[in-house]
Amino acid sequence: MRQRILVGRLTWAAVALCAAGLLGLGAGSASAAVHKSWKTKSSYGSTTSHMSGPVSDANIAAIVTTANKVDIQNAREAERISKNPKVLEFARRMTTDHTAANRQAMDLAKRLNLTPKPDALSRSLETSGTQTRSRMMSMTGASFDRAYIDNEVKLHESVLNVIDNTLLPNVQNADLKKLIQDTRPVIEEHLRMAKDVQSQLSTGSNSYQR
């Protein structure tokens, strides 16, 4: 029994860690988020069973659509604020790809009669996305570009982690599982693209005039 509780806690710790990665721009905010998640879990018995319980297909649908939505909203801010062609191109690609991926997710949910049900992870994604964006919106120029791209690297790394450690091990419906499997290479490629832009920003090998 103690072993089962430990496994449940470790699973939640992995999920919380992934969510934390999605939270912010820097390591500081990520570690704060981990602490907050643990504090929430250990302090509120009524939420403990929900947070460490199994992730349902309805929860997974909510996590997928929220992750897409957060990245689309980030990209729209980048398209509004950035003047760097590489960053703008990347942001436009995020908008297009995540809009298409989200449409597939919504269509599938409709076909399966699956109503996305927000859980702690999807709610945390949503909240942290809003906080991150409001922080980025106060930045301009190269500072914004770096913050946006650094966050995109962290975001896609975290989503890969969530896919591998939370979504795929828990998904029940075969069609939803296929959608997640099809989503994985999208996230992987976006991570590669984000790292390319990140490296160009750090070496200054772009046409942006600072």
């Binding site: 790809d97 298409a100 099809d182 992987e188 490629e189 693209m193």
Partner: protein, 136 residues
């Protein structure tokens, strides 16, 4: 773009195309505009786009052949050759697009949306065998 006809096709055609094996000698085109006496032997070849890769990545074909790219990913892609001057345009998920190859259509191509996706069209030394024409 002479001799190259990029065409986007809707889902219905895509579903038909999915019945074909990737890269297989697929079907004989009854007529390919602009291919003259070779029209009846032109071959349609299929490249499946899956998991951000072209399959097959290296496709052997001949002028007059039609290459159909079928997008099985959940995001749009293109097949674009800046060098040869052809471009399928955006291929939506569950859709396909085709290019009729001219003499200069061969060489490397890539997805203009996801530049890490690369493919190549290799020109066949000899025209590949094709299925017999229905009238033969």
């Amino acid at each position: 773009m002479r001799g190259q006809v990029p065409t986007n096709e809707a889902g219905a055609r895509h579903r038909r195309a999915r019945l074909l094996a990737p890269g297989a000698l697929a079907l004989v085109l009854a007529a390919v505009p602009g291919c003259g006496s070779h029209a009846r032997h032109a071959v349609a070849r299929q490249v499946v786009i899956r998991s951000f890769a072209y399959d097959p990545a290296d496709l052997a074909a001949a002028p007059g052949d039609t290459v159909v790219w079928v997008n099985e990913d959940i995001v749009p892609h293109t097949a674009t050759s800046a060098q040869a001057g052809w471009n399928t345009g955006s291929i939506a998920p569950d859709s396909s697009a085709r290019v009729v190859l001219g003499r200069r259509s061969f060489g490397p191509y890539a997805c203009s949306f996801h530049p890490n996706m690369k493919g190549i069209l290799t020109r066949n030394g000899a025209r590949p065998a094709s299925l017999p024409h229905p009238s033969e």
